[in-house]
Symmetry: C2
Subunit: 278 residues, 2 copies
């Protein structure tokens, strides 16, 4: 049995490309459709209702392209829209929060976990709530790192300034018996080497690679892996400014993105709805 | 003759507070109304038409409060709305671009000026165009500094990382016979000491203090200065999230902001329009 249907991945922008990268390293034969909802970027300040609506529109678009599984590679959408999308669609759907929370707890016998994220993610409490649901005795140290995502997007990851700012953000760890560092932002895997140097032997869990591992298990479980011999293909879609996505995406993927198609989601849905009418 | 009517100042957010600060140092007896259009922040990506509409609504609101002069303490609004607002209102109106461009040229016999700003400001060409209109033989080196505004907002101005990032942004100056550095972002005056250390004897012109100097001359010219003996008052208005403005504003003003009032501009305008009807 081999299933060559693509895997859908979506994010509000380029951040989810680290998730795509982590997945592709593990599943090079799979085909992918990546959707960056750049028109609505950033999701951080929007209501749950709006995020669910965006998620539904994107998942519907990807569904029309016959995806076999969906990855919500965005923290805000994972927090707000995962349950609703699982109810509405038949294919398996994964977010970025649960897999990394589960793995962080596996590394933390006492549940002493430091969670790093954007101000929006940390204040949304999404990682903290998920960790406490899984392990009620966890002691979580949340750390807002608002400058790290801009530093990654501006390609300053290997600049000494990045390291110095990271050191400052990690200062609260001096008074916390940390067992695991959870990187709760899709941008942070690009700073993983620097985090490793700063954290010594403390395990570091990043939401991108945890999500990728979970997807491997999921495909195996549903027996929908692609056993093709050739390398899979990736198609990129955005809702706005394909050129900017192409340029910024290169920073994240470390390789060129050849083609990015702009999609008007509303048009696409209305069109299909008209076709579907009796 | 003494005129105690307030001076209106507006920006899309807190950035214009550096302009307010620069003005207040020179004109401590004046009263001020500051309006932060936080609902529509940031202005950078919006169309000229939209910015003019916002500017008109804000200037109308301030006009109802009997301002004697208006300062557009925002680069985007200065570029797009200055001419339109001057045509519509009777009080004198200043932006942040012309005053600093004029002063930078005064320091630059050959017109070799490096302009630093956000990506949006630099790509809008507003400083470059203004400088070239004033001095067609200018040689302008525009430098996008996208990380500096977040660094200021996050209060990392005195962090070594800020200095290192500034050094990187200033690298193109090695191959440019610069005569003057123009800081074309209202956030950058908070990095002025660091810029001075990095630039040695090269004059540095910042849009906030140049605008403040121009306002002094304007009040004198129209004979509308306030010669009151006591210190003037400042009232703050925002279109969204007064608490956030209060917190972030402290970073810019280096002093507490006691009261911030939230204003719904449309309501305010509709209300006045209704009252004005026969």
């Amino acid at each position: 049995m081999s299933d060559s249907r693509p895997i859908g991945i979506f994010d509000s922008g380029v951040g989810g490309l680290t998730v795509l990268k982590a997945i592709r390293e593990r599943l090079p034969k799979e085909n992918f459709l990546y959707f960056g909802d750049t028109l609505h970027f950033p999701y951080g300040e929007k209501t749950a209702e709006t995020i669910i609506q965006y998620g539904f529109e994107i998942a519907s678009f990807l569904n029309e392209h016959q995806i076999k599984a969906l990855v919500i590679a965005c923290n805000t959408a994972s927090a707000f829209a995962l349950k609703e999308l699982i109810q509405k669609f038949d294919f398996p759907i994964l977010g970025v929060i649960q897999p990394s929370a589960k793995k962080a707890l596996a590394f933390s016998p006492r549940g002493n976990i430091a969670v790093l994220g954007t101000r929006g993610t940390i204040r949304s409490m999404s990682y903290q709530k998920t960790l406490l649901e899984m392990q009620p005795h966890s002691k979580i140290l949340p750390i807002e790192c608002p400058l790290l995502a801009p530093i990654v997007e501006e390609n300053f990851t290997h600049h000494l300034a990045a390291r110095l700012i990271m050191e400052t953000y990690l200062e609260p760890l001096r008074n916390f018996p940390v067992e695991c560092l959870l990187l709760g932002c899709t941008h942070y895997p690009l700073l993983l080497d620097q985090f490793r140097e700063l954290m010594g032997n403390i395990p570091i869990v990043d939401s991108a690679s945890c999500c990728a591992e979970e997807l491997c298990s999921t495909l195996k479980y549903y027996q929908i892996e692609n056993h093709n011999e050739t390398e899979g293909e990736i198609s990129y879609f955005v809702s706005e400014d394909p050129e900017k996505f192409q340029k910024l995406g290169k920073v994240f993927l470390k390789t060129d993105i050849e083609v990015v198609q702009k999609v008007n989601l509303c048009d696409s849905l209305i069109l299909n709805w008209s076709f579907g009418k009796p």
